[in-house]
């Protein structure tokens, strides 16, 4: 039987014990009766011989070995009572610990599925992302043509697939609904290693121009929209006016990390003959591949590099898609976390600091409490309590404290995780997989409990530690001195440290030292956090100070899409519809100007297209640039400045012999450093049988991908003159008043032309600007919150230590006052001590902050990691807070009445 078993069956054991002893008594009595005793007399005699039954039972319980557990139970009762008696201490330590444990659990829970857990696919490490390397080695999308060549030539992969976003609208019996989805090549699910739970996967034979329209549904869409009907496979549904046959439903647990919102998949169905002037050669696809078993990322990288360097005649590549810079291969996990990793690691660092500060603070609190309880434990020791018994008692108290903190921390962790998910930038991968992680929680609770246990033992060690004899002798000596030399000079006669070392208990010396070390640690840790938060804050400031190249104020944006392609037989039909929609939007009262563009700055999308210039030395030069097909008013609406030449106007919307093209300043500077770009000729889309296009103007640079990214090349043509009719287009509207409030009116104006065409992603330009800094903002909010917590904890810590030390030194201070020290002297003494500790902490913290800022470099923008303003500001802040925290104890010390303190001895 285990002790636990025994404890749980305690009542039963007690019954058995009772029964056994009663049997003994009865048996004895009946024996006596058999020997001729009177029954009543027999029972009396038997009871006498058995002695005290309770004592026997007690000894049996001892023998059984559950004694210590029963005592522990008692200890917990007693501990609960002591904690209740000091609600202030209990509340502060429980909250401090809960904050530390809860925050670290929340952060690690959020980070774990992203950085550490394997992705939810079989042999996930075999899944790789393959990017086209742009001019400066930057990652760019793949062109379908390059994908085709890689599929044919590469031997490293089990499966290669490409994908692009797709937002089809479902019409039919119920309300029309627009879904997030993906257009993928047939191998997509195979590359991830997942097969549909119902029906079948895509068939490679169907992935061709005008192949059969088939879709695969997600489990959630199937359940939500089709009631989980298993006969869905083979049924036809109407998407964008076309009939699609449902061929499969993905499993319930399928997590599509490459497009978490996607619920529906259809085939890409590009023209396999790869006409050069088609979207098939635009760099707009993402490529994913599953490595052959036993194949490493490096081997695949080498093979793809070799293919990129050796073009074959049967796989012609247009100049802008020559793969000259090679390909970039990353594991899927690295690819997903690349953007967020620096921020997440920084946040982990921050939470470790918070946990450390929480531990320091609790240590501090327990030390202070230990000092207060020395009397209690000395008394217990004097009354004969064993050292082990007292240690056990303290263990019980610490454990109870830890349990309480753990319970509160659970709430902190839960709400922390929720807040993190809500705050997280859109690009945070696997946000759905985030939940409170129990192992992390156990770790944080364990470490704080351990500290609590160790620190909590101190009073018990004191109680059985050195006696107070030495203290009394020293006191007598000091009193004698003060009697003989009752002047101010006595203070000078006493060697420094004499009073602290001799004035009280000998142990106080070491004890005070420990607490001073804690204050230093606390200040240092807080400084590291505050400097990091300060640097991030300044980065964000700088980032928002950057001109995005357009005026975001009063600009409303939305995506206008044609989702009924059967009603739009040719490009002209599309152009006509978009022209009508634009006119309708312009007529809405409050609209100053409106325009369409094929891609919107900072929207998160980006597409480049290649071309070549007439004056290229090498016809194979790759001039991929951001492509904007716009209506003429785009530049006024966005307030993009004209630098040279002219803007596009309504004449350029008509088909003409030569297309007028605008390029941005960066492109002009790079391509025509010493020439006038106006009048230079170029050709996008690479076909030789088209006439050259002419540069008619240069416009200002615009941030497309993000505010922090350095400028890339861009070119502008009108929507009407581009190679194909773009769909969807972004509508940008400059309003006279508040931008967001015009959205409903503009939407209904466009729907008055055709109510079936979806209008989505409605947002203000200002919101997009803010969102583009979301990752930095995310890290900054967390850092700010943690820095605030750290500042608060440091302040309470400094205050706690100093007020504790003033209390313990009351006698010494009284003595100093009696010897002639003025109030000013005493205030000075306490403050000097506090500021010395703070100064030491700041010095150590500065070194730590310099080291820590190294890890932050990738998150910083436009500010040095050694930014003096931030460091000075934080030092001043901490010094100020610590000065305030020590003022109260100093003031209390100054009011110590020497006659009372000395008489109290």
């Amino acid at each position: 039987m285990s002790w636990l078993h025994r404890l749980l069956r305690r009542d039963k054991m007690e019954q058995h014990l009772d029964k056994e002893l009663r049997f003994h008594l009865d048996q004895h009595a009946s024996d006596l009766i058999a020997r001729g005793h009177d029954p009543a007399e027999a029972r009396r005699l038997a009871r006498i011989t058995i002695g005290g039954p309770e004592q026997v039972k007690e000894q049996c319980r001892d023998a059984r070995g559950t004694r210590w557990l029963e005592d522990l139970w008692q200890d917990f009762h007693y501990a609960a009572r002591t904690l209740r008696q000091r609600p202030g201490f209990t509340a502060v330590s429980v909250l401090t610990l809960a904050l530390g444990i809860g925050a670290s659990t929340a952060i690690f829970s959020a980070v774990n599925p992203i950085l550490f857990q394997p992705l939810p696919y079989p042999q996930a490490s075999r899944i790789q992302m393959i990017w086209y390397a742009g001019k400066d080695g930057a990652r760019a999308g793949q062109a379908f043509g390059n994908f085709r060549e890689l599929v044919a030539r590469s031997r490293s992969f089990d499966a290669l697939a490409v994908m692009k976003p797709w937002q089809p609208t479902l019409t039919g019996a119920a309300e029309p609904e627009r879904f997030e989805g993906q257009r993928v090549s047939a191998n997509y699910f195979h590359a991830l290693g997942v097969t549909p739970a119902l029906g079948r996967d895509f068939d490679a034979a169907d992935d061709r121009l005008s192949g059969p329209d088939v879709v695969v549904l997600s489990d959630s869409l199937w359940r939500r929209r089709f009631g989980g009907d298993p006969s869905i496979v083979g049924r036809q549904i109407t998407l964008n006016d076309r009939l699609f046959t449902v061929v499969g439903v993905m499993p319930r647990g399928f997590e599509n990390v490459l497009a978490p919102a996607a619920e529906i998949w259809a085939l890409l169905q590009y023209d396999q003959s790869l006409p050069v002037q088609s979207a098939a050669w635009g760099h707009h696809l993402r490529m994913v591949g599953r490595l052959q078993a036993g194949m490493g990322t490096d081997q695949a990288r080498q093979e793809l590099d070799r293919i990129a360097r050796t073009p074959l005649p049967e796989f012609p590549r247009p100049p802008w898609s020559s793969m000259k810079q090679g390909l970039i291969v990353d594991s899927l996990r690295d690819d997903l976390t690349r953007a967020v990793k620096p921020a997440l690691l920084a946040v982990i660092g921050a939470v470790i600091l918070v946990l450390a500060i929480a531990c320091v603070n609790v240590t501090n609190l327990l030390l202070a409490r230990g000092a207060q309880r020395r009397g209690e434990f000395a008394m217990r020791a004097a009354l004969g309590a064993g050292r082990m018994r007292m240690i056990r008692q303290l263990l019980a108290e610490s454990l109870l404290l830890a349990l309480l903190s753990g319970a509160v921390a659970m709430f902190v962790a839960q709400s922390g995780v929720q807040a993190l998910v809500a705050l997280s930038p859109a690009e945070l991968p696997r946000a759905k997989a985030i939940g409170v992680d129990s192992s992390v929680f156990a770790f944080a609770l364990g470490i704080t409990t351990l500290i609590g246990l160790l620190v909590g033992l101190i009073p018990a060690l004191y109680a059985s530690g050195p006696t107070r004899q030495g203290g009394f002798v020293a006191h007598a000596l000091v009193r004698a001195v003060s009697a003989i030399v009752p002047t101010r000079r006595a203070r000078i006669l006493l060697p420094p440290g004499f009073l602290t070392a001799q004035g009280g208990n000998r142990v106080i010396g070491g004890h005070q030292l420990a607490r001073r070390a804690l204050v230093v640690a606390e200040v240092a840790l807080a400084l590291v956090l505050l400097v990091s938060a300060g640097l991030l804050l300044r980065s964000l400031d700088r980032l928002f100070a950057i001109a995005p190249g357009f005026d975001a104020a009063h600009v409303l944006t939305m995506q206008v899409q044609v989702s009924t392609p059967r009603r739009f037989p040719d490009d002209d039909a599309y152009h006509r519809y978009f022209a009508q929609a634009l006119e309708a939007a312009r007529q809405v009262p409050g609209v100053a100007s409106a325009a369409f563009t094929s891609q919107l700055p900072l929207s998160g999308d980006f597409e480049t297209f290649g071309g070549n210039f007439e004056n290229d030395n090498d016809p194979g030069d790759n001039h991929a640039a951001f492509r904007y097909a716009v209506t003429p008013d785009y530049f006024q609406t966005m307030s993009i400045p004209l630098r040279r030449g002219r803007l596009l106007d309504s004449r350029d919307m008509l088909p003409g012999p030569a297309r007028p093209v605008l390029i941005n300043e960066a492109f002009a500077r790079q391509k025509f450093p010493r020439q006038d770009p106006i009048g230079q000729r170029l050709r996008f889309g690479g076909s030789d049988n088209r006439p050259w296009d002419v540069i008619v103007g240069v416009v200002g640079d615009v941030k497309q991908a993000s505010l922090a990214v350095t400028q890339s090349n861009a070119f502008y043509v009108t929507t009407a003159q581009w190679l194909w009719a773009d769909n969807p287009l972004w509508l940008v509207v400059r309003t006279r008043g508040d931008a967001a409030s015009l959205a409903p009116a503009i939407r209904s104006a466009i729907w008055s032309i055709d109510k079936d065409q979806p209008i989505v992603r409605v947002n203000t330009m200002e919101n997009l600007l803010t969102a583009s800094a979301a990752e930095r903002r995310f890290a900054m909010i967390i850092f700010e919150a943690f820095a605030l917590v750290a500042l608060l904890l440091a302040a309470t810590g400094i205050y706690g230590v100093l007020s504790g030390s003033v209390t313990e030194r009351t006698r010494e201070i009284g003595l100093r006052a009696a010897l002639g020290a003025t109030r000013g002297d005493i205030v000075g003494l306490v403050i000097r001590q506090a500021m010395t500790l703070t100064g030491l902490g700041i010095t150590i913290g500065l070194a730590g902050a310099v080291a820590a800022s190294g890890a932050l470099v990738t998150l910083l923008f436009g500010v040095s990691r050694l930014d003096p303003l931030t460091y000075l500001g934080v030092v001043a802040l901490l010094a100020g807070v610590s000065a305030i925290a020590c003022w109260v104890p100093a003031w209390r010390a100054a009011r110590v009445d020497p006659s009372i303190t000395l008489r109290a001895e």
């Binding site: 058995h16 029964k19 056994e20 002893l21 049997f23 003994h24 009865d26 048996q27 004895h28 024996d31 011989t49 058995i50 002695g51 005290g52 004592q55 026997v56 000894q59 049996c60 001892d62 023998a63 059984r64 070995g65």
Partner: protein, 114 residues
Amino acid sequence: MTPKSDLPQGTLDLLILKVVALGPVHGYAIQQRLQQVSHDVVQVQQGSLYPALHRLENRGLLAADWEETETGREAKFYRLTRKGKAQLEAETASWERLATAVGLILKLSEGGAK
């Protein structure tokens, strides 16, 4: 009643094991048997007997079951475990060695010490 002798430390456990080794038996019977066999020299008080029984049970030397006595009452019957048997043999042997040694020493004649 004959004056009882104090049992040397640890002897009670040995005696209990010995009595229990003869067959399952309850506490009262152990006490009676010890008293009878030793002609009233060994009189164990409940205050020593029951803690000893519980200690031996706890150490796995004894096991116990609730069974009916011939009078039809339920009593806790102790029996020897395999471990208890080994312990009994070991302790018996060591007791005999000690007793022989003590006997030898006590039989020394006054002059023999030289």
